[in-house]
């Protein structure tokens, strides 16, 4: 039975740090406690635990816009966060976990400003048949969390750009995202702000559980653990490296011919590269493949590798230049 309710707000907008605090709270929650953690990320695409980063997100485009790509512990599909989105996490132990009551905190908070939200399926909250909140779940031993987004005033253009499926042909095992019709709360209550929503959720937490809400204070020794966890979430290995192997085909037509890069990616690295082309200098283009094998599947690393190729004439230099520019812009 829950005896202690806590409320915790993230202090920064960096996704990896915010994910670190979420996991820190999960690892230390005690029987009888429930923590509501609220957090916001600046320009971030968050993919599910078992998703392919390249399949779900326009990685290049996001990086060019100084956005972040993050992988979470829970399952499900890709979401976009900006400062128009508020994230919530309910952290508790297995024995005290009760999804309908947790969702009631959100539904009741919105009812207080005249919005009627309903649960749909296992993962979504809807207003007038449009999704404004996606939920996901993680369990580790006796502890678990339920977290989700609340779209208050998210930039829909950005959302569409970053989550747009890429034109590349990609064959990956894992979990695919399901597209939904989404809506911002601001479409229903134009004057709503994230700050106001936080206050509504704080009050709804206490009212829904019928207990006083205490502020969660980070213990003095939390800093070191948070730094380690932050590093883990920011790590290339976690975001790109440790995912199921996949094959990708990148194709493009240049003035000098059409090219198709066929790459086998294992643990985030190009294990095998084959290049097909109908260009005049097909031999030169085929000779580029070994430069890509063994290189990280990452635009900058691939461009660096191509620059190692031995160039014998002006046309070959143009090919390398144009390939590099294309890889860079592929977004």
């Amino acid at each position: 039975m829950i005896t202690d309710l806590y409320y915790c707000e993230a202090t920064g907008l960096l996704p990896y740090r915010n994910q670190a605090l979420e996991e820190y709270l999960l690892r230390r929650v005690q029987p009888g406690e429930l923590i509501l953690y609220l957090w916001q990320n600046q320009r971030t695409v968050v993919i599910g635990r078992n998703q392919n980063s390249w399949q779900e997100c326009r990685v290049e485009l996001l990086q060019q816009d100084q956005g972040y790509l993050a992988r979470r512990l829970s399952g499900g599909g890709a979401v976009f966060h900006d400062l128009g989105n508020l994230n919530f996490t309910f952290i508790t132990t297995d024995a005290d976990y009760h999804l309908p009551q947790q969702l009631a905190v959100i539904i009741n908070a919105l009812a207080a400003i005249g919005i009627k939200a309903v649960k749909s399926g296992r993962n979504d909250l809807l207003i007038a048949d449009r999704k404004f909140s996606g939920n996901a779940f993680y369990k580790s031993g006796a502890n678990r969390y339920h977290h989700g987004t609340i779209m208050v005033d998210v930039d829909m253009t950005d959302l569409g750009r970053y989550l747009q499926p890429s034109a590349d042909k990609l064959a990956a095992k894992g979990v695919n995202s399901v597209r939904s019709r989404v809506a911002n709360l601001a479409e229903f209550v134009p004057e709503i702000t994230v700050e106001q929503l936080k206050k509504l959720l704080f009050h709804s937490l206490g009212d829904t559980y019928g207990l006083p809400v205490q502020e969660f204070l980070l213990p003095a020794d939390a800093g070191q653990k948070l730094a380690l966890l932050t590093e883990r979430y920011a790590n290339w290995q976690w975001i790109y490296g440790r995912q199921a192997d996949f094959d990708i085909q990148l194709a493009h037509r240049f003035s000098w011919g059409e090219i198709s890069l066929n790459l086998q990616i294992e643990q985030g690295t190009i294990a095998n590269a084959v290049i097909y082309s109908d260009a005049m200098d097909g031999e030169f283009i085929a000779s580029l493949a070994p430069f890509l094998s063994g290189c990280r599947y990452d635009t900058a690393a691939m461009i660096d590798s191509l620059q190692q190729a031995v160039i014998n004439n002006r046309q070959q230099a143009v090919i390398i230049d144009e390939l590099s520019t294309w890889l860079q812009k592929r977004g």
Binding site: G48, R49, N50, L73, S74, G75, R122, A136, F137, Y138, K139, S140, G141, R144, K173, G174, V175, R242, A244, Q267
Partner: protein, 126 residues
Amino acid sequence: MTNPSDYKYVRSHEWLCYVDDDRVRVGITDFAQQAMGDLVFVNLPIVGDMTTAGEPLCDVESVKSVEDIFAPVSGEVTAINEELMDHPELINAAPYDAWIAEISHITDTEELLDAAAYEAVCAEEE
């Protein structure tokens, strides 16, 4: 479904079965798969991974949630059941055949329960 009497179990709902003195196969119990619901993905460990008894070995994603699977022994992953990459539902269909990983060079072991003791743990949780 009955829990095989020649398997051993741990409280976090994994089973293990000795292939020889220094090598076990590990999977999740029928009780665990029922609680999780239909699996959609098994995030297998990698051959060569070192495991620590009682620490996460890998994770599985079901329609409900992602859950950590814990290593019942400390050692090294020497084989994985790659069939689960394409067919996670095998765990739901036959949890005691659908092994996840083989762990060898065992240096430490969690408290192991026989089938009867494990069933008592499950009865408490229900």
